[in-house]
Symmetry: C2
Subunit: 371 residues, 2 copies
């Protein structure tokens, strides 16, 4: 038994953030990157290949002891091909499907008796939900893409025609807040959650997160953990998963699942004894899971979205001097308008001050303020 090689399909920022804990644990990490300039390929061993190319992925996987994912763009056929060739790949295809296919996910939540919104598939037939409603593409959406607010039958028909595929329709919920909870589970069945996170969204993109979710009652925080653990067990999750929830009054409704480290868990790098990235590595290698305790009262994370500025280094001079406790994470991706190119995290006791400092950093980095 020696330090294994873990293969990660994908080389974006999520893979990039796996590098530090892999290095600490002595795990050899190898990525399947699409481009040598991918965020994580810049700093880690990689193979070049297309994640939808079954032969290329299998060739890559055969050089690794265990394989996992950092995104959902790996076709089921590719994963099943790895499995039928005896590759240890986690999460398994029959779990990963619930992260890839929103209708399969809704069916599974019903089966597990977990709180779904009202939903139906739509392929031009009768609509049983009332308008306004939410229409979603069944696969491939993220960061608000593939999600539409639909006010009428005619809008729905136009969208269906444009998309040209079956849609998932969901009841439009009048929610109080959006919550995410990260959960990890190993092949042995050991599972652990972190404190629930309030994900503040603008135009369908998460801009900041606050952990623990400040407006969530203790009983709802417990309910969130129970939902996450029930899903993890119900789908035989291996790895970490984000469970996105709507808080509607004193109820929680399942919104989406993401079966990998997730933006809503970035705060764990500094804010928890075990980060989601370390936990994902432990889980897929079937090592005992780490302690998920908080390291401070509050953790506030802010996403750096591409804005006016292209120079992301010079702002350090101002921001590090102003807020010496601020932690920076630059993904070294090309700056494009609205693209997530990094994040900042700040820990402490005074939530108002933390949120102000994080917001200032984001505004300064985007060019919205210059002092």
């Amino acid at each position: 038994m020696t330090f294994p090689r873990l293969g990660v399909i994908g080389a974006g920022q999520l893979a990039r953030m796996m590098v530090a804990p892999a290095t600490e644990l002595g795990i050899n990490l190898r990525l399947l990157a699409q481009d040598s300039e991918d965020s994580a390929a810049q700093i880690c061993d990689y193979f070049l290949g297309d994640p939808s190319d079954s032969a290329a992925v299998l060739k890559f996987a055969r050089t690794c002891d265990v394989v996992t994912f950092e995104h959902e763009q790996v076709p089921q056929s590719v994963i099943k091909n790895l499995e039928s060739n005896g590759i240890k790949v986690y999460p398994r295809s029959d779990a990963f499907i619930f992260s890839q296919n929103k209708v399969e996910m809704r069916k599974k939540m019903d089966e597990l008796q977990l709180p779904n919104p009202q939903w139906q598939e739509y392929d031009g037939d009768a609509v049983t939900l009332s308008f306004p409603l939410i229409a979603k593409t069944i696969t491939g959406g993220y960061d608000g893409r593939g999600v539409f607010v639909i006010n009428s039958q005619s809008e729905l028909e136009a969208l269906h025609k444009e998309i040209g595929k079956t849609l998932l329709l969901e009841q439009k919920l009048n929610f109080t807040s959006e919550i995410a909870i990260m959960v990890a589970r190993s092949p042995h069945g050991q599972a652990a959650t972190w404190a629930p996170t309030w994900t503040v969204q603008e135009h369908g993109i998460c801009t900041t997160t606050v952990t623990p979710a400040p407006e969530l009652s203790t009983s709802l925080a417990t309910a969130a953990a129970e939902i996450a653990l029930k899903i993890a067990q119900g789908i035989s999750l291996v790895g970490v998963m984000a469970v996105e929830l709507f808080q509607v009054g004193e109820k929680l409704i399942v919104n989406e699942l993401a079966m990998r480290p997730h933006n809503s868990g970035h705060w764990t790098i500094e804010g928890s004894l075990t980060s989601q990235f370390e936990q994902h590595i432990r889980a897929v290698l079937d090592l005992p899971l780490g302690d998920t305790s908080l390291t401070s009262t509050w953790a506030v994370m802010g996403n750096i979205l591409g804005g006016e500025k292209s120079d992301m280094y010079r702002p350090y001079l101002h921001l590090m001097a102003r807020t010496p406790a601020l932690k920076f994470h630059h993904y070294r991706k090309e700056v494009r308008l609205g693209r997530k190119i990094g994040h900042v995290t700040l820990l402490g006791d005074d939530l108002v001050e933390l949120r102000n400092e994080v917001q200032h950093a984001l505004d300064y980095l985007s060019g919205a303020v210059d002092e």
Copy 2:
């Protein structure tokens, strides 16, 4: 202005632990390694070269924006050659000398009116100190190597003959404990210390550290910080430096300086908002320094020394299950008896329990206990 490339001369575990904060900050790191299997070369961009080869080091340095060190084995002539060629190299040769030459260091401490033990150079002439005394090689010693307890004139003469070089003699102190304090300073002159650390030594090798040093009074902790800051300013330090001190009753005496991230500061990775590795990067790039606050009441670090076991992966199964909060750092160096091959860190409130758990982990990893 864009993300700079930082060159590090050396590719051992100290360079390895710089990779995570460099990645987070988006800094491009490039190492001058002696071997492709060096601890950090396994996970980072590197050039191969001998740190004592002036031409090779200059060629390497010209591909970087700023150059720094992870060990003292870089001759002054090599550093001065970089400086005369306009390379930004930190610490500067006229500061680094105090980390390389113990007689120069003692002279500087006297000049700065900082607490030295009685000392003299010895080249076969008269001995003014009383026996027993400590004899040291002036350059090149570490981890207890090059340090000798000498009980008599005849022992001293024998050692001098064997070494064949001038020796540094120091008064043998009856110290209460050994303390280390890390300090960082930038070219702008901004400086910061961390809490002082108790370094527990066995046979001249640091086995564990406890931070903050539990037996140190508040006034001595303040005195330690003052000494460290005075040295940093007095030698125009750029980067981080470990100041090793002897506590003798209610006095502190300067023992040694190490002008780079240091074993006694490893606890800062989890135990401080800013690790010594991130701070070193910030300092040499002349970025504002980070907050050095503690993240918990106590931080206990234990060095993993090579022992009976060669498999360093399998112990995870037991240790992670037993102590879920334990943080591992494996350097991926070949296991040799007594060699530092990794370290563990544990944070918390109960110092007795923390020390017990760390000691158990070290005993289990070395093979001294098997459950």
